[in-house]
């Protein structure tokens, strides 16, 4: 069963009761141990791989050396034949034959090391993928567990403080009302501010003798006089 399915089954199975952990903590520990084991195996495999690759390199050097020696001795054999020394040529030919069988043995070893190294590399890659996958799964399990424990802490906190999570619409209304109140206050402050600045401007104008002047007795008298004329 996939980890998704397990978590879904656990949640669906009614294990959502507060305080009840859906994931067996023992199982989590076992899983963590498995991951650690896998990581240890991976480290071991990498160490083995290093060993095999070292053998492969030394074997490859041997193969090159033997090949060089064969070429060299073939040259000697030709030179001996040119000098007509059949016996010497035969001795060199024997040496070449020994070298050739040595080469074939060494080449086999090299091929086998190469095969092993390739296999180990593949294994390391696969194991790394597995460990990463296990870790992802463990993270999912632990997150589920953590959210559940957090939920239980939140619920406990709410019931102990006698406060209750409000109905969503009520919450929204209250928040909107608060926002409205805040906006209204801002607006009121703005209006007040602008009114203040209006009156102060008026005062300044009056002081400078500009704008509407007071209706004093003199001005009334002047007006009446004007009407009489």
């Amino acid at each position: 069963m996939s980890i998704f399915k397990k978590i879904m089954t656990a949640i669906r199975g009614g294990a959502t009761e507060v305080g009840e952990s859906i994931i067996d903590s023992n199982a989590t520990r076992i899983f963590e141990q498995e991951i650690r084991d896998a990581e240890n195996h991976l480290t071991q495999a990498k160490r083995d791989l290093t060993g095999v690759m070292a053998q492969q390199m030394s074997s490859s050097r041997d193969v090159d050396r033997i090949k060089r020696e064969i070429v060299e001795h073939e040259g000697y054999a030709v030179q001996a034949l040119e000098k007509g020394d059949e016996a010497l040529a035969l001795a060199v030919a024997e040496k070449i034959s020994t070298l050739e069988s040595e080469l074939s043995t060494q080449q086999q070893a090299l091929d086998s090391f190469q095969g092993n190294a390739d296999r180990l590399k593949e294994l390391v890659k696969k194991s790394e993928r597995h460990v990463a996958e296990y870790k992802r799964q463990l993270s999912m399990v632990k997150t589920t567990e953590s959210v559940q424990k957090a939920t239980s802490a939140i619920t406990d906190n709410f019931s102990s403080s006698n406060s209750k999570l409000l109905n969503a619409k009520d919450s929204l209304e209250r928040i909107k009302a608060k926002q409205q109140k805040f906006d209204d206050r801002m607006k009121a402050a703005e209006v007040l501010e602008s009114e203040n600045s209006d009156t102060s401007l008026e005062a300044k104008l009056k002081e400078a003798g500009i704008g509407a002047s007071d209706n004093n007795a003199n001005s009334v008298l002047e007006r009446l006089k004007a009407k009489q004329k």
């Binding site: 953590s146 959210v147 802490a153 939140i154 906190n157 929204l172 928040i175």
Partner: protein
């Protein structure tokens, strides 16, 4: 990263937050430490933050199963699925009988990232309740 570092950061922010929101933090003790974060003026919709091995999870409770109109449940679920991608940074989920929105951050997130996450989550919660109120009793 742990809830106390986050609480310290949010509390020292005061009025200087990038989001324009003022956060108040209250740790809740339990098997898992949870930070209850309230946004000034939005005390009714607290955000609960917890830190796991590799994630920081921020959750806001939206409404309970019992608040959904019985004949609108399916329609609401479809709307939630459809909104899940357009809604910035947050996703819908359900914990027990409560619908929630949440955001998950990598443990390596910066304080700025967390602050942004909380601001967006709070705005999303308000908008979602408003937009989905037709489905609610």
């Amino acid at each position: 990263m742990n809830i106390h570092k986050i609480a310290d950061y949010l509390n020292t922010l005061a009025d200087d937050s990038n989001t324009g929101m003022v956060f108040d933090c209250q740790p809740i003790s339990g098997e898992v430490d949870v930070l209850q974060i309230t946004v000034l003026g939005r005390e009714e919709l607290p955000i609960f933050l917890s830190v796991t091995d590799d994630q920081i999870i921020c959750i806001t409770y939206l409404w309970g199963e019992e608040e959904v109109k019985a004949d609108k449940v399916n329609e609401m679920h479809v709307s939630m699925l459809e909104m899940n991608i357009p809604m910035p940074l947050s996703s819908f989920s359900k914990i027990g009988d409560k619908y929630v929105i949440f955001g998950a951050l990598a443990i390596s997130s910066t304080f700025n990232d967390i602050e942004l996450e909380l601001g967006v989550l709070s705005n999303n919660a308000l908008e979602i309740i408003d937009d989905m109120s037709d489905y609610l009793v």
